[in-house]
Symmetry: C2
Subunit: 120 residues, 2 copies
Amino acid sequence: MTALLLVAHGSRRAASNNEVRHLTDKLREAASDRFEQIECAFLELAEPLIPDGITCCINQGADEVVVLPYFLSAGRHVSEDIPGIIAETQARYPNTTIRIAPYLGESSDIVNTLLDLAIK
Amino acid sequence: MTALLLVAHGSRRAASNNEVRHLTDKLREAASDRFEQIECAFLELAEPLIPDGITCCINQGADEVVVLPYFLSAGRHVSEDIPGIIAETQARYPNTTIRIAPYLGESSDIVNTLLDLAIK
């Protein structure tokens, strides 16, 4: 059973965290056939934090968790903080495969998405 | 003549700012038929800042500038800071139309982009 965990930075502003939760709802609507579970978690400032999000997926039966960084640039959070947290969490759950997908900003789709927004 | 100005937050990390500049190059390759000029600017921490980016577009002949916020959530930067800077800059250039496009996180395309990244 594979879970998708969307990981955002987290904000002091509740509305920003709720945007991530709303996006997670939309991912569920679009991809419930591809992932048995779709959840979100936050690097800091909001809950659940990443390890708790992974634990939640595992408790619900996931044996594979795809962590998807909702970040635009490969800064410290994407290149160091998230991999570090995942490595620690992976050590706690040796029977679960935890994989980090490419971060959002790395997608070549972004160019067309931006142009669509600009032209609207 | 219409210019597209991609506006990112800006980072102390040069590589993150260069990711934005590289994305701007890709926008140019993809949309030089739709925008005579495509530039980037930063809210803070990197150059050019937004007013300087707009001035650059106008000096190169733009009479319309589309400002595209490269942000994932409608936090204070998107809802207050960028509109405030644009209003001040617009007042300096009454003969130029400056329009703020929807921010990236508002695009409905993001769902499919994320799923493509998760499945790869």
